[in-house]
């Protein structure tokens, strides 16, 4: 279980390979990569609350491990200024069987988007603007709650 918050880009292939390297009990690896969309923006800056960010990501990963039978989990979230097409976030999960990996990967992303203290600011032709939180993200996260969604 490993969480990183960093300015640097990451190697998706290497991260995916590491999720099952030396583990012949792993039967499935699921991953998600989030990118900066170029629609109408020139750049995006990600601010975070250092300390709480790492703590909240670790808590989300721990909750995923509690809910599903997982072997390894890797979360990387970039901060700082990013250009369209650049990678923002990586979530990778290995498990014995695919359903655990698929579900846990989606769960980690849904919780990350609504609980981890990151904020996006978009730069476009009209200037810079903080991105508003989306109700659809809250709805996505609430699906995982008892009686949710």
């Amino acid at each position: 279980m490993s969480v990183s918050v960093q300015k640097a880009d990451f190697d998706v292939g290497a991260e995916i390979a590491a999720l099952s390297a030396g583990d012949d009990g792993a039967g499935a690896v699921a991953s998600f990569v989030g990118l900066v969309r170029g629609a109408g923006i020139d750049a995006m800056t990600l601010e975070h609350y250092q300390g709480m960010t790492e703590k909240s990501l670790a808590e989300i990963v721990a909750e995923a491990c509690h809910r599903w039978n997982l072997r390894r989990v890797r979360v990387i979230h970039r901060v700082g200024r990013l250009l369209p097409g650049e990678r923002i976030v990586f979530v990778g999960v290995s498990s014995s069987h695919r359903r655990d990996a698929f579900a846990a990967c989606e769960f980690v992303m849904d919780y990350l988007k609504t609980r981890a203290p990151f904020w996006k600011k978009e730069e476009g032709a009209a200037g810079a603007k903080w991105v508003d939180a989306r109700e659809s993200d809250d709805a996505a996260a609430s699906r995982w709650e008892p009686g949710g969604g």
Partner: protein, 83 residues
């Protein structure tokens, strides 16, 4: 004393990223701290008017009733938008 942190659009609106505050009498929860900050007036009134403002005490999300005491780190910020 408590350590106060402000993030993202709130930090920009207030023009301050962080401060140390001696807790006034009667300020012992996130809610009473918000009222104290709002009373500074100007852009600080957002602490009274915003429904979306979030708080964390010692790096854990906290509601209005959460206790605040000397030595705590309290952060205020807009809803998160990472991922």
């Amino acid at each position: 004393m408590i350590k106060l942190l402000y993030f993202a659009g709130l930090r920009e609106a207030l023009g301050v990223p962080a401060e140390a505050l001696a807790l006034p009498a009667g300020v012992d929860t996130v809610g009473t701290l918000r009222a104290h900050l709002a009373a500074r007036g100007g852009s600080w009134q957002v602490f009274a008017t915003s429904r979306s403002l979030r708080a964390a005490v010692n790096q854990a999300m906290a509601g209005m009733e959460a206790p605040v005491g000397s030595g705590d780190e309290v952060a205020f910020f807009p809803p998160v938008t990472g991922g």
